[in-house]
């Protein structure tokens, strides 16, 4: 990574922290400790399940919300504050600006996820009194959640490169929802015939396949995740993020900023 991208990424991270993004950790901590205590009292033998399900779901949802709401402002905010012009008047290329922004927000989300993950393991330790070998699968689920963030961040950045923040958030959130049902969409495409089949197939490949990145259910039940799936999901998420970032670079490169 060149130094200019690194600098932009570091600044994006700093700005996100300054925007009090990490305050979501307080809400998360309250949620986790509350769930761990309350479910222990009102339910039977599902404390561990609730901590894993609720913890991982909250990490995923909080992260996606941050990725979308910070991601959509990454370009427009710089234009609004006119800091983009100062930046681009220096020897910074437009693609470096986009790539730097992507890494900055991705870094913020990784730090946020690591802190939340510590919270999940602390809650797990509290309800189970000890950690077991199968809990390592939770790390895989967390890793997949981070991959999901990369995809959503790249999409938010893509939309923010040509659309208003409001529309970008609508587009990004819609794609997140559609992506969660991507396997159903591919099922519909496989069953359709004629032109509908081709249109649905194209749409099914273009939307992000987020359902394969969600292994919270099996992991909560102590199931392990196949090594091949980890490999393929990693390749997929990285390629998809690169694809969306490339799209953002292409659009931003040709955008008239006057």
């Amino acid at each position: 990574m060149n130094s200019r991208i690194r600098l932009i990424a570091a600044n994006t991270f700093r700005e996100a922290v300054r925007d009090r993004v990490l305050y979501n950790l307080i809400a998360f901590a309250l949620l986790m400790s509350g769930a761990a205590v309350i479910f222990g009292q009102i339910s039977i033998d599902i404390e561990r399940l609730v901590v894993v399900n609720l913890g991982l779901t909250a990490i995923s949802l909080f992260g996606v919300v941050i990725a979308i709401f910070i991601g959509i402002g990454l370009v427009s905010k710089e234009i609004e504050k006119r800091t983009l012009y100062t930046m681009l008047s220096r020897p910074v290329r437009r693609w470096e600006f986009i790539v730097g922004k992507f890494f900055g927000l991705a870094g913020t989300l990784v730090v946020n996820t690591v802190l939340m993950a510590l919270g999940v393991f602390a809650a797990l330790l509290y309800v189970s009194r000890h950690l077991q070998a199968s809990d390592s699968a939770i790390l895989v689920a967390l890793y997949f959640i981070v991959l999901e963030f990369l995809v959503v961040t790249a999409l938010a950045l893509l939309f923010s490169s040509f659309s208003s923040p409001l529309m970008s958030s609508v587009f990004a959130f819609s794609l997140f929802v559609i992506g969660s049902f991507a396997e159903d969409l591919r099922g519909f495409a496989a069953a359709a015939k004629g032109a509908t089949h081709w249109i649905a197939t194209a749409a099914a490949y273009l939307v992000p396949n987020l359902s394969a990145l969600n292994v919270i259910g099996p992991v909560a039940h102590g199931e392990t995740v196949a090594g091949n799936l980890i490999l393929y999901n990693t390749a997929y998420a990285l390629l998809y993020s690169a694809l969306a970032t490339c799209g953002a670079v292409l659009i931003f490169e040709r955008r008239n900023l006057k």
Binding site: L88, R93, R94, W95, F181, E183, D184, R186, G187, F188, A191, Y205, N209, S211, A212, G217, P218, H221, A226, N228, L229, Y232, N233, A235, Y236, L239, Y240, A242, L243, C246, G247, V249, L250, E253, R254, L257
Partner: protein, 322 residues
Amino acid sequence: MKPSLRTTAIASVLLVAFLAGVVVTLNLVDRERGHATLKEVLYISSPKVVKRLSLGYTGLMADIYWTRAVQYFGAQHHAGAEEYKLLPALLDITTDLDPKLLVAYRFGANFLSPRPPNGAGQPEQALALIQKGILANPREWTLYYDLGFIYYFEFHDYAKAAQAFQQSSTLPNAHPFVQVVAATMAQHAGESQMARMLWTTTFETTKDRQIKQNAIAHLRALMVDEVVPELEKRVQAYRQRTGHLPGSFEELVRAGLLRGIPLDPTGRPYRLMPDGTVEVRKADELPFITKGIPENYTPPELPNFKNINPDAPVGTSAQPIS
């Protein structure tokens, strides 16, 4: 500021390369996961929990679950599966999410009741599903009709079937034919006559292409099952009259026992065997037949509806020979 051509070119090439990579890796992910999706769907097998989790958007969720049920049935059916373990749960969730989704009760029962490989072979579950549908939609004549259909074909409970058809015929918008079915049933008509009426009603009241094809296939099978014994009877009559078996149907025509060469519902002439039995020429195109099946014939795993045009139900008339 002019766009950098170099950056644009590189980004475009990368875009295409990444897109190709995405398609390849997605296929790898799919291959790795197999049917994981449906199993995961049923991690939450309680309809009540799914209903709560849908945050009030139960209609959309029901549509998604119904589509999953169809996909699941289609995949199992295509693979010639003998078991459809997830089907009842998927249908239960679908109809709990949207109790007015008639299609899920009707087609669901149709998936559940026939014996494998045509269906899941779970007529009790089919019956329970239709009864659940009736509870939620007591004024829907089609559900009573389906109830009667299941009682008749799967349980051979003619009294309950007659009662269901009777109830169906009294409900608003009931197809006029249902009244005829109910009346015929009450008169204790012969089984083939009753079956023909039911399949005819099914053919006339559905818009679905596959169900129409299925109904035509059953009607054709009924016809073959009726015609073959009748032809064999006439062959024996010829034998009694002449002391030997006929060599062809032409001899029966010349003897006045047939008006013409008998054709099966696909339009092909029946085959007269040297031992006096009668067979169809292409059994593959006549699924569900029980008579006239060529010796050593092995039926395909799935019934073949390819040559059945649902818009032109040829070969389903009730009087094929004279």
